[in-house]
Symmetry: D2
Subunit: 253 residues, 4 copies
């Protein structure tokens, strides 16, 4: 059994420090690097690529809405054609900086509101996948299991990696419980590890109503902006490895 | 005799229309395309690359300071390392979008205050050239003749193209007369053509004090944001061709 | 009979020229001045206040979403509390600059997507009105007739001015036909004048299905970003005055 | 003997947390609140005004260059007229939001590169003071002792408060030692208190060369972005009070 561990990194910009990149990087296998639209800036991007390379972590582009103020977490109603262009631009920027540092881009994972909306909006999902296909159809798309985004990737014939969250509660329909709900974010390391093991080994998760629902995932996301993210990531990785699971980047499998 | 004609294009963004790209493009041979920092946006960038490709115009990156409000014309005192990173980022974005459209990047021309400051500031000039060298050392650098920027390019062993302005007055030291000076911008087509011919054929220009000074150039810039820019560009091209001069992109020579 | 004529102005910023402010201003009685979020900048704001003062035009704040790129025309899903704060901020900025120029603020008209969404979203409408009430409850709110926004103003006990558009087609339910629909924007001056006269005198408008529907308005908006906006505004004003209608700012009535 | 303690606050924006506002506020008497150009946003501004009001701290505007990315610490060469307008805008926004919360603005302190450049650039200093005078000539200007900015304030007849830094090293000419110099930032609480006492009681400071130089100040700045800023502020305040010095806001004296 094998699983990829990914995290959103490179989201600091200017005087604004976001995330625990340095402490997270040794525990993950895929880094989703921001491109300056919802977070990140050219210097942070380059530094983060270098850090990922040093740690042997695969590099992906993490495109978001052009909303630094709202950290890309506010839905913006943009025409699909505009989304296609801004996703293409962000992939190009991250890929070009990565190539300059001797690293080939592995994957693309949309950020925040762009990811959540594309999970259910077919036109938006298709626009994102068109950008990937236009730039480099060997890239892997990270998307929620059974989402419109994942389906769009498959429909266009690109590789996809279904993503799960070990530190978030799931609704009976397989979607994430809103952060507004009490218990939506799980911070206890042992619970997180137990949920991750269940996802990887049994391909299920226990939803908020107590039912076990199917959840087939290829990559597990570790949130980088929670306190103690580095420690939690290390504990999760150790817990998975102790259970005989191989941790490896999405592309290498 | 041969000369390249270049123009700054793709500088519109969102609701803001800048420049006469569509009317200019048929007359030029090299397009300097903005990357969204001083002007331009992802959709305008992609559209402009397509327009250049259709017109058979070579594509270059036109990186500027991150100052959409000031159109990159205000000097910002940034550390050279930060300039290197933001120039690299902008080259990567334009090159990646161009490659997606089947076009290989030809050149890099810094914009506005970045270009002017790098013409005299060695540390800034070196930072810009480092970004080019890191990304792709086959790119051509556009820079003022005899400037610190041109020298930095030569010192790093990359190809350079010295740039002249047929519609701008020159000071006796070979620098441009400030736009504040009366007569600094020349709008009469016949005068512009006569000055361009002199630059190309005699490799000189008449400075504001009446003296003829040396000016060896490889590419002539046509400003895109003056009224009637398209007509002036067409007249200039026709005037140069009528005098037996070949108009061809910098790289093709 | 009396009507106010308003226009959105002061939406240029930096190198980006938007609207025909100088040619419009002599024909209108209320100016909705942008605050730098969807358009405008501090210098344009101050200059526009001065122009309005010179022309004897009443000044209002024209707050929008923080989206310069999208000109405030893209819906952003912001929490009502955040909208309240950004509307308050924009009113404060415009009112303070106006006061500095010796002009008291008359009104507030939300811009673009903020206006359209607040017309039907009660929580958003209430947030906007709370900002107005907190800042100065003597301000007049411009809003669509019978909208959630107008109702929120009335519920909070502030003065409201119902706004109509003489150059836009209406649906049978009293809402504007989308700009995507053919015929949604009316450019013929005589038709615009005839529709305006009907709105003012008969308090009705002919909808796209040919039916006459009630439309009780206090102020008529003239779009500033259509070609020939200045001429159309002058013709509309002349046509209304020729029919014996008094043109006067909302507050003065 | 009396001294004002001030700090730059309200500089967080969106997902970006800057400064230790909550822990600092109880120890200071004047709060310099950002207006969203170099830091801050409409919601942070309003919340910070409320916090200052609750703590009985006087409120000032803290205008900066429009450079969120560089936190206003990068010099931008803007025309003085443009600086006047953007300082006016920021004062208007902060004053309007403060007034909405029942608080009258006390002072204006320019931020970062704007403050440092105006300390030596007369044209820039005059532009800033013109904005203050135009908006409200009863406002107090915070500026370095003997600076061009302080002199401009005096020349225009407004009240000024000379500002000192107890945690920064001074050069023999009375200017601050650059942050690049070792020892430029002083973090030891006892040293900071001793230096502050000397400034207040003897109106001198020991420069980096060991010489005692005159430094007549009315207000002491406490940096909000250093680790342990809240504790240092509390210790400084206690140390000053223990020495019989009254801590009171600039305006109240």
């Amino acid at each position: 059994m094998v699983i990829d561990l990914n995290a959103d990194v490179g989201e600091s910009h200017g005087a604004c420090a976001v995330g625990a990149d340095a402490s997270l990087m040794p525990s993950i296998t895929s880094a989703n690097i921001a491109a300056g639209f919802h977070g990140g800036d050219p210097s942070v991007l380059r530094k983060t690529v270098r850090l990922a390379k040093t740690c042997g972590v695969a590099v992906g582009a993490h495109p978001g809405y052009p909303d630094l103020k709202g950290f890309g977490r506010r839905e913006m109603r943009l025409p699909p054609g505009e989304v296609e262009d801004l996703v293409l631009y962000q992939i190009a920027a991250v890929a070009g900086v990565a190539r300059t540092e001797g690293v080939a881009l592995q994957h693309v994972k949309p950020h925040g509101a762009l990811y959540n909306t594309a999970a259910r909006d077919e036109a938006l999902a298709d626009a994102i996948v068109r950008a990937i296909v236009a730039f480099d159809r060997s890239l892997v798309l990270f998307a929620p299991p059974a989402s419109a985004l994942l389906k769009a990737g498959t429909a266009h014939g690109i590789r996809v990696a279904a993503e799960g969250f070990a530190d978030r509660a799931y609704q009976p329909d397989g979607s994430l419980a809103s952060r507004q709900h009490p218990g939506a974010v799980i911070t206890d390391a042992r619970t997180v590890i137990a949920r991750a093991l269940r996802m990887v080994k049994e391909r299920t998760v226990v939803a908020v109503d107590g039912a076990s629902i199917p959840l087939a995932i290829d990559t597990l996301c570790i949130h980088s902006d929670t306190p103690g993210a580095g420690e939690l990531a290390a504990a999760l990785r150790a817990g998975l490895e102790a259970a005989g699971i191989t941790i490896a980047a999405a592309l290498r499998r």
